[in-house]
């Protein structure tokens, strides 16, 4: 297993095998990030591939000022945000009923503090969380994903998205407010059940 810098140098010399190793090293995380921002697996797959293709094209100019992973993240969020904005416009023209069908939350599963016990529960929880995230605008969803799932600091989010820290705080605040509004009734139901 080569270290990252060696692989990058080999890639810059045109070694495809080295690039393949970089792809295999990061594809899980890049695909997961794409899924979270776009909210659709097929489109996320295309986006993740597009991000790696763009990275390959730009790799000759990569100087290592930031880590390769941060740099790849920046490319991926840009690709995903473009797709998510385009998709939002398309979904905005779809009837609200069609969207409501995908909004199916089980309070017991969603608010349960324990991790899922099996694959079915895991897939179910993942879908429920994604359905909630999909209700946010792409910009708000992206800051929540980077903050809460990827555990980025507000400064790192600002750097990744090319916006100010103030804008990150404001988007995060509005995103959380929206999530709170969406989930408050379900939470109330869950608390009611829990105390019964």
């Amino acid at each position: 297993m080569h270290d990252e810098q060696t692989l990058i140098t080999q890639c810059q010399r045109g070694d495809m095998n080295a690039f393949r190793q970089l792809v295999e090293r990061y594809e899980d995380r890049i695909y997961a990030l794409s899924c979270s921002i776009i909210g659709d697996r097929e489109m996320a797959r295309d986006a993740a591939q597009e991000a790696f293709v763009r990275a390959y094209k730009a790799l000759k100019n990569f100087e290592g000022k930031s880590s390769f992973y941060t740099w790849l993240y920046r490319i991926t969020t840009n690709v995903c945000l473009n797709i998510a904005h385009r998709e939002k416009r398309r979904l905005d023209s779809v009837s609200l009923d069609a969207l409501q069908e995908t909004y199916d939350i089980s309070p017991d599963r969603f608010f349960c503090a324990e991790d899922p016990h099996n694959d079915i529960e895991r897939i179910d929880l993942r879908n429920q969380i994604q359905n909630v995230l999909n209700r946010l605008s792409p910009d708000h969803r992206t800051v929540v994903v980077l903050k809460d799932i990827e555990d980025f600091s507000q400064e790192e989010i600002a750097q990744t998205l090319g916006i100010s820290v103030g804008t990150v705080k404001s988007r995060l605040s509005r995103a959380r407010e929206h999530l709170q509004e969406l989930l408050r009734p379900i939470y109330g139901e869950w608390i009611g059940k829990d105390s019964a």
Partner: protein, 138 residues
């Protein structure tokens, strides 16, 4: 700044020490505010534990795209890759073929050839150094 905005900023570490203390006092007295904070924390914790997606296996698609855009030539890359690994094998095969060819032309078998080479090597060592080869019993 309303209480709710304060809660969000509190949770994200964006309140000053003084503002945090003031809010913590409010939280002690206000059950509704405590519940809002609990919900906020619960949502954040749930999103953070979003289970990962299964491995996507992106390489084939990436390679196809790069090839379609003329950025790589997979066939050429495979040949280069194979070439790097095949050269030592080809050299070894060539030596064996030469030895086989030698044996068919002279009637000397490969074993005879290697035995004669070994004997030659040992006699040279014996002549040049005082190293003695221990006898082996069969």
């Amino acid at each position: 700044m309303n209480d709710w905005t304060k809660l969000v900023r509190y949770l994200d570490g964006n309140l000053s020490a003084q503002e945090s203390q003031s809010l913590e006092k409010q939280l002690i007295e206000n059950a509704e505010l405590r519940e809002e904070l609990a919900l906020l924390k619960r949502i954040q914790a749930t999103i953070a534990k979003r289970p990962p997606e299964p491995s996507p296996g992106l390489w084939v698609g990436i390679e196809t795209r790069l090839s379609e855009e003329g950025l790589i030539n997979p066939l050429w890359d495979q040949l280069v890759w194979a070439g790097k690994r095949l050269v030592p094998l080809m050299v070894a095969a060539a030596i064996i073929l030469m030895a086989v060819n030698l044996s068919t032309e002279t009637g000397v078998t490969i074993d005879d050839y290697f035995d004669s080479q070994t004997e030659l090597l040992l006699s040279e060592i014996d002549a040049n150094t005082s190293i003695s080869i221990p006898e082996t019993t069969e």
